[in-house]
Symmetry: C2
Subunit: 579 residues, 2 copies
């Protein structure tokens, strides 16, 4: 116990920042900037996300020795620069890629007075869903506890708090006064409902408050929601950062300093302690009440994830503007509204590409959409392009339908080459799941913003976004007609989607069970679906794998997005119906 | 020791077969057919490849409970069917997917007299290169030893022989007379040079002969070369199957029957023994000398891998014929020769698609190629299609170059839709590495046969294939002019590849170091390459990731093919030059 007789205090800052994979210089600058902010707020400790120096996930860059060496060097450099910037007295926890004689490591370092005072390697390596960490890292077995102003601070990295046993329980038995945790925990729908109880349980296991900093922002097909948390040893929520924005969360904590035991072995983990300063800080008046942000509603959360995922994909790839087909339908309308929210209407270039099968209302709705969101808009008919193909090659049926979609894809790519816009693909998860799209046609694009929304979700979000605008007294971005009319690909006269697909409400219900729920044919029968419809849907899904692999990335908002976390063999002879 | 006083004999068959992923019924039928062949050859034991019931690799099908249940059931059914077919006395080792309370398992089963007499789960799970087994399987800890005619037979599955320690050394210490090993070991260049010494070393560790059966044939982007082996306890090669063909390798073995200890624990592995029959067989006259096939030459091996990979990709996806652009250049000529070898010239549909920049020699060389390999051939100018785009959108420069490649891609897809051919992409690894190709243009196709050959390899194989034909008195398939002329994309007047790229010999040298060898900028400098050229190449490679992800699959013939085993983040800000 400290000499001031009371409980020792520390001011803690959580730096919920948006890093970029591979950008060591940029991430170093970002860390200096945010540590300076923390120092200006009077913080004694600042905690950055997992692998904040390299960004997350670094995938195969992990295996590149030159990159790992540069990452290690950047941490020493960062410690020096923090000290030069006058932040040397702030104990800063940052993440980086290490590489030692055993192999690559997902590492965190504590920086203090210009030096690296502790390094720790992640123990539990997730290898499910979007994670492939057994491929990339070797697990660590050391736990570093640093005593600052008399308070023993331990650390655990991300997955180490998601698994029972291991580092958290070892720290609990060894004794610490505070646990800090750098994370890169991707967003899933309603993830906070899992995250908060988990963090609370781990704080109890550690017998100490837990400071949980999460990455924020989009990186390739992942999006991180932030939602950084501080929880007391009793599990009470003490502070929470807002979702989907960069934020410095600062709070004062009164801590119990235990005078804990020396180094030792616990369940295969080695605890090592280092003293930076023994004396507790003189008592000081704490800040006003810390921020406890409310989680967003389901729709707002998903919309934000898609906006942030799209914005960061475009910007981190060096683009400023996007282009895609404005068809008048619901999918392109929702993509347009997302793009306007992400980049501003002035960076959205809509193209109407009518063929002889396009209806009058399609063209009107597309023009209306552009006006509502303030997008650039042009009309380029594909009739002449289609005619050359159809006449020269004598195309009919599916070949004629597909060439319409494909001439549009090529038209967009030509405009991208000429004007430097990134092309967006407007397909949704329902289409992608059943293969209802044209490769090299409507699937053309570098990013597919609503790839992870079922069709029924698209409609729900459209209504929600329009209501939000109405509530704010703004023009609803999505034309009402695009929401209410029956969906059609307009590739032949009078075509509607239900010619080829079951009703979307039914289809999405089955897909949700079959794809998300991993339920089999017999389960679907038991759930009361009609056998013929199940059979039809299941066959479409099982056959569509090749198209899915060729589809551009999109932000994952549910666990079982199609992509790396659902990878069927291409030549897949298994059909669920056989089971 | 048996009552006949001599060494007990067994006749062993290795069934080197070509299974199909997901096709439980087809693979069961295949196994019955080949076990019957083994029985007809008088074999007492037959060994199939790893996961022969499901095919390999099953990827996410592993996680599908209904599939795992069907796989388990198929093994019981297979045991029954083998007995009904009169093969019940042959001890048959097959592979399958199991699923128990711990999770999915890469399993092998021994079948005898209509029953499953042993099941064992793979212990070492590879998770590097093309393997992702930590994602898919849980490791086993039991070893099953079966006594047949007095001989104790142990088993190990694939990776279990590639790792030091574990099952093989446990079997060695427990004592066995013979080890059988089902494998699905993908082809890499000169893999036999690693495989044979390894199998020999493991036989010595086990103190018993080792029977190594490998899968053969193409499955998605992998190809398995077979090369099944039998090695004596002294490491001597006793038999070897030919590469890249299905084969039943049969040999008689004289074995030492040791009367080994009972069940027990060894280094965390539990050895369990079961007796099928104690009495050694009466002495019988052995077969003539077993086959010891010679490995193929480097060029023949690579050519065979590409032919088999292409053939199985086309057939296992339900296609019979292929179409692609015949440009007159070396890449499409080599793809055409491969396709003719794989499918027959009559199943190859070449299309010449000249634009106004196409040279006269290109059209002549393309027509010559078609005649040489007996392919169908048509000429479809893209001039009219290109004109509509260029005039309507006023395209110039890169946009105009790309639209030529893209109208060709769309033309091929239209023919595929009309006539049912699978489209091949003709790009090579050099182009793919540096991004010298047009997305939705020359990258269009379901399969890219030479995706894993550097440009200099393409030339070398072309010469080799022509010499092979000449040596056989056949027409060399590849026009000499396609081999000798300077490569050009012919997308603008007088264009040659060296306008945009270093000389291919130099470029491939750098790529080999940078991509295959994982060497960094400093290493490349030290190797004597010019700094500006290194910088130029490294920047191209680091920027081309997005294109590589959109490229169709191709057969992997070296370890570091671009694809799943080299996956950079798409928004990759790291540039080697910075290191």
């Amino acid at each position: 116990m400290g000499q001031n007789g009371g409980m020792p205090q520390l001011r803690i800052a959580l730096a919920q920042v948006n890093t970029t994979v591979g950008d060591l210089d940029g991430n170093t600058a970002l860390t200096v900037e945010w540590t300076r902010k923390a120092a200006e707020a009077g913080a004694h400790v600042v905690v950055f996300p997992e692998m904040s120096q390299t960004g997350y996930p670094v995938e195969d860059l992990t295996l590149r020795r030159t990159f790992a060496d540069a990452s290690r060097k950047s941490v020493d450099e960062l410690a020096r620069r923090l000290d030069e910037a006058g932040c040397g007295e702030v104990l800063a926890y940052v993440g980086y890629l290490d590489f030692d004689e055993v192999g690559p490591r997902d590492a965190a370092a504590a920086l203090y007075r210009g030096e690296v005072v502790a390094r720790q390697f992640k123990h539990h390596l997730p290898n499910y869903g979007v994670f492939d960490e057994h491929r990339y890292f070797k697990p660590g077995t050391e736990l570093e506890v640093v005593r600052l102003h008399g308070v023993d601070v331990g650390m655990v990295i991300c997955e180490d708090i998601w698994q029972d046993g291991g580092p958290i329980s070892a720290l609990g038995r060894a004794g610490v006064d505070l646990v800090v945790s750098p994370n890169a925990s991707p967003y899933e729908r309603a993830k906070d409902e899992q995250r908060l109880p988990l963090v609370a349980r781990r704080a109890a296991e550690a017998g100490a408050p837990l400071v949980y900093t999460n990455q924020v922002g989009g990186q390739d097909d992942l999006v991180f929601d932030g939602d950084s948390l501080v929880v007391g040893a009793d599990g009470a929520l003490l502070a929470r950062a807002p979702q989907f924005v960069e934020h410095l969360l600062v709070l004062d904590m009164e801590l119990t300093a235990g005078g804990h035991a020396a180094d030792g072995e616990l369940a295969g983990l080695h605890v090592r302690r280092r003293v930076l300063s023994e004396e507790p800080l003189p008592a000081y008046p704490p800040l006003t009440e810390p921020v406890i942000s409310e989680p967003l509603s389901d729709e707002a959360e998903v919309w934000s994830a898609l906006v942030v995922g799209l914005r960061d994909y475009v910007h981190k790839n060096g683009f400023a503007s996007v282009t895609f087909g404005f068809s008048g339908g619901i999918d392109s309308a929702v993509v347009a509204a997302l793009a306007a929210d992400a980049l501003g209407g002035d960076n959205v270039y809509g193209v109407s590409m009518p063929s002889k099968y396009s209806s009058g209302h399609s063209k009107d709705d597309a023009a209306d959409l552009a006006r509502r969101i303030g997008a650039h808009y042009r009309v380029e008919s594909v009739e002449d392009m289609v005619s050359v193909y159809v006449n020269q090659l004598k195309l009919t049926g599916l070949a004629e339908e597909n060439i319409q979609a494909r001439t549009r894809g090529m038209l967009l790519m030509a405009l991208s080459n000429s004007d430097g816009h990134l092309v967006l693909a407007t397909g949704n998860k329902t289409e992608l799941a059943v293969g209802y799209s044209t490769m090299y046609g409507d699937a053309v694009g570098a990013f597919a913003p609503i790839k992870d929304l079922f069709k029924t979700h698209v409609w729900r979000l459209a209504r929600w976004r329009n209501q939000l605008a109405a509530g704010r007294g703004e023009t609803p971005p999505i034309p009402e007609n695009s929401i209410t009319k029956p969906p059609s690909a307009e590739l032949r006269p009078g075509q509607v989607d239900t010619d080829s697909l079951p009703d979307y409400a039914l289809l999405d219900d089955i897909l949700d069970d079959y794809v998300e729920g991993d339920r089999g044919y017999a389960d679907l029968l038991e759930a009361g679906f009609d056998p013929e419809t199940i059979d039809r849907v299941v066959r479409m899904v099982d056959k569509a794998e090749y198209k899915r692999r060729q589809y551009p990335p999109g932000t994952k908002i549910t666990f079982k997005a199609f992509g790396r976390d659902r990878r069927l063999p291409i030549t897949n002879s298994w059909r669920e119906r056989k089971a």
